[in-house]
């Protein structure tokens, strides 16, 4: 079981790297769906191992909201953007980006280490550093990618990372909090999707990185 969870964790980390490296929006969205499924899988494995119905419910919610509802919603709101066959504009080129991402992952292990020295649970050993890496890689993706939808996916990756760590370190969080958090992520996708569409209509582009009328002289 631990091996299976480690596999899910490794693939999860790979998808987080992928969100940085993929050149087209649709690819990014697919990766996000795979990542959410892996998150649900990890929750399932942990739920089975810890005999917690609770985590199985969390896995179900994740699967429903993040791998079905959110992609559907983004497709509805921004279908034009998703199918655009062009490269995502980036501040740094992809090899450099991946190099920085590797450094970020090492940093995530560095932060998680002192916490793991106290706990001896095998699952948190895998989930906590990988979750933190997902979180930081998401933040990094937002800073280097300059378009609206990749930035939304960056935020969602961050949330996924937080929950990937969360299922191992806080498996007994009250169910209502989990439900509310899933609802919250849904609202993030909805609000940002609608705002991106408004920007597209008003400004004619979703290159949010280029919008710089508001700044200090």
């Amino acid at each position: 079981m631990i091996q299976l969870n480690a596999l899910a964790g490794g693939l999860f980390l790979l998808t987080a790297f992928g969100v940085l490296a993929v050149r087209q929006v649709i690819g990014c969205l697919r990766l996000f769906v795979i990542q959410s499924i892996l998150l649900a899988a990890s929750a399932c494995i942990l739920g089975y191992e810890l005999a917690s119905i609770h985590l199985l419910v969390v896995a179900g919610i994740t699967l429903g909201v993040k791998s079905i509802l959110i992609p559907w919603l983004l497709f509805r709101v921004l279908s034009h953007e998703i199918h655009a066959r062009r490269e995502i504009t980036q501040v740094l080129n992809i090899p450099t980006s991946l190099l920085v991402a590797a450094a970020i992952t090492i940093f995530a292990y560095f932060i998680a280490q002192p916490l793991l020295e106290i706990s001896s649970a095998a699952f948190s050993r895998i989930n906590l550093p990988i979750g933190m890496a997902g979180l930081l890689l998401g933040a990094y993706a937002i800073t280097v990618r300059r378009e609206a939808l990749p930035q939304v996916l960056g935020i969602l990756t961050m949330e996924n990372g937080a929950f990937f760590a969360g299922v191992s370190i806080a498996p007994n969080l009250p169910l209502i909090a989990e439900l509310a958090a899933a609802f919250d992520v849904l609202i993030i996708a909805l609000v940002m999707g609608l705002l991106a569409r408004k920007i597209q209509k008003q400004v004619g582009t979703t290159l949010v990185g280029k919008m710089a009328t508001l700044k200090e002289e």
């Binding site: 916490l115 609206a148 949330e159 990372g161 009250p174 958090a181 993030i188 705002l195 008003q202 508001l214």
Partner: protein
């Protein structure tokens, strides 16, 4: 039950504003009545606490101690004032045919208010995180209300940066939960955590503290992650700015300040150093950026960053005096900053420009807007006899009493620079020569009422604090420890 009513009323007003009518009066009136009811309930709870009467809550879900009651009172006061201001302001902005947009505005306004009222009274830490995140998500479309390219840009920066921050804070909250689960006692509430904090391993507390400080610090506008704040707080409609700057930043700060009692045992010095360093950096950044602004709403937005820094420094200084001064500063900033944005809104209605250089001799164009802007500028910069002067003065005293001379020196320096920056701009706008044209129409009555209503605490709290309110501040400070 009162606490439940406080959450239910904005929901009712929000659904009222969905009724399709040609006029916007039902939505606007319903919002004013609703916020008035919330304010009375919050006042009752705070007044009771000031006299030492517990507020009945729902165990494990809703509770209200001194600090919660203070934030609740401030949110509901600014919420009421901004609702009254909106009546005149929004109908001027959308015109007579804008019934649909006005209804949208009031629906979002009430939901936004609901999320801010929920932050201080929810007791579960995980739920507080969700409420703070909702304050962002429910106000995004209020920021972009004007539908201009600049407003969209501001809203986008706002939602991206604060959601990033919230995700970081979420990890902090989960680590707190993890740390508490090792000793397996008590509910995951603020009270339960501070009770258990002495037995939680320090490394959990330290890591969680940093994640939450950076995460919610982004939302409170602490430098260097403040860049979204001047944009969002200058592009939103003025009554929304009053809420964003006056109390939304404070609710994010609330979640950070709640960590103080948790850090009490093992790493007290550690956390207060972080507070002071972050606070001073924010103050310095804001004070220097204040000088070169071109837009008067941005001026007040930068001043918000500065004040968040001051509150954090005061909380970092600690001690009974430091904590009391920081709660006083929270209150003084909320009432004064919201007044400033109402004054800025009045000036915007009268001159229809946000540029400082295009506004000259406002006192001749519109005496009410001019005088209000002058009072607002003086009050927020910290001139006597206004509330902010008293609170800043008590922070100086607290920091001298602690023997932190370096910190005191920097505080005085940054506050002086900000004072100069604000006054130069405001003075030119109000008394400057040239470019004077008479106001096209008088200021709407409700806007004048709001200005008259909100100027009272700005003045009064500078030299007189009623006994129950003083008790409330003391109880709020006691929530941090001593």
């Amino acid at each position: 039950m009162e606490l439940l009513y406080i959450l239910a009323i904005p929901l009712i007003s929000a659904s009222l504003s969905m009724i399709r009518t040609s006029t916007q009066k039902i939505a606007a009136g319903g919002t004013i009545l609703g916020t008035l009811a919330v304010f009375i309930l919050a006042w009752k709870a705070a007044w009771g606490l000031g006299h030492g009467i517990e507020v009945p809550g729902i165990t494990g879900w809703l509770s209200c101690d001194g600090f919660s009651a203070l934030i609740l009172l401030l949110v509901s006061f600014v919420g009421l004032a901004a609702a009254i201001f909106s009546w005149g302001y929004i109908s001027e902005r959308v015109g007579d045919s804008g019934g649909k947009r006005a209804r949208q505005y009031y629906r979002r306004y009430n939901l936004f208010l609901l999320s801010m009222l929920a932050v201080p009274i929810l007791s579960q830490v995980a739920m507080v995180w969700i409420a703070v995140e909702l304050t962002t998500l429910l106000s995004v479309f209020l920021v972009s209300f004007e539908n201009t390219a600049e407003a969209m840009e501001a809203a986008w920066k706002y939602v991206v940066l604060t959601c990033m921050g919230a995700a970081l804070a979420l990890v902090g909250v989960l680590i707190l939960y993890w740390g508490q689960s090792f000793i397996a006692t008590g509910p995951f509430t603020w009270a339960g955590l501070s009770e258990a904090s002495s037995r939680i391993q320090p490394v959990f507390l330290k890591t969680a503290f940093l994640f939450i400080l950076i995460g919610f610090g982004t939302k409170a506008g602490l430098a260097p992650l403040h860049t979204w704040l001047p944009d969002a707080h200058s592009q939103a409609p003025s009554p929304v700015c009053a809420l964003l700057s006056g109390v939304e930043t404070t609710t994010a700060l609330y979640a950070i300040l709640r960590l103080i009692p948790l850090m009490d045992g093992v790493s007290k010095d550690n956390s207060s150093t972080w507070f002071i360093v972050f606070g001073l950096i924010s103050m310095g950044t804001a004070a220097f950026l204040l000088i070169q602004v071109k837009d008067y709403k941005r001026l007040f937005a930068f001043s918000t960053i500065e004040h968040m820094g001051i509150i954090l420094v005061a909380a970092g200084l600690g001690g009974e005096a430091g904590y009391l001064a920081s709660t006083y500063q929270v209150m003084a900033h909320a009432v004064t900053k919201s007044f400033c944005f109402f004054a800025a809104g009045a000036a915007l209605l009268m001159t229809s420009t946000r540029e400082i250089s295009s506004v000259r001799g406002l006192i001749r164009t519109s005496p009410i807007a001019g005088i209000s802007l002058m009072i607002g500028g003086l009050a927020i910069a910290g001139a006597p006899p206004f509330a902010v002067f008293l609170s800043e003065f008590s922070i100086f005293r607290a920091s001298l009493a602690e023997g932190r001379y370096g910190v005191t020196g920097l505080l005085v320096l940054f506050i002086t620079i900000a004072f100069g920056g604000i006054m130069v701009h405001v003075n030119r706008m109000v008394f400057g020569q040239g470019l004077t044209s008479p106001a096209p129409r008088p200021l709407p009555l409700t806007c004048r009422v709001t200005l008259a209503m909100t100027v009272i605490p700005v003045f009064l709290l500078g030299f007189y604090v009623p006994e129950p309110l003083h008790n409330l501040l003391r109880f709020a400070a006691a929530c941090f420890g001593r």
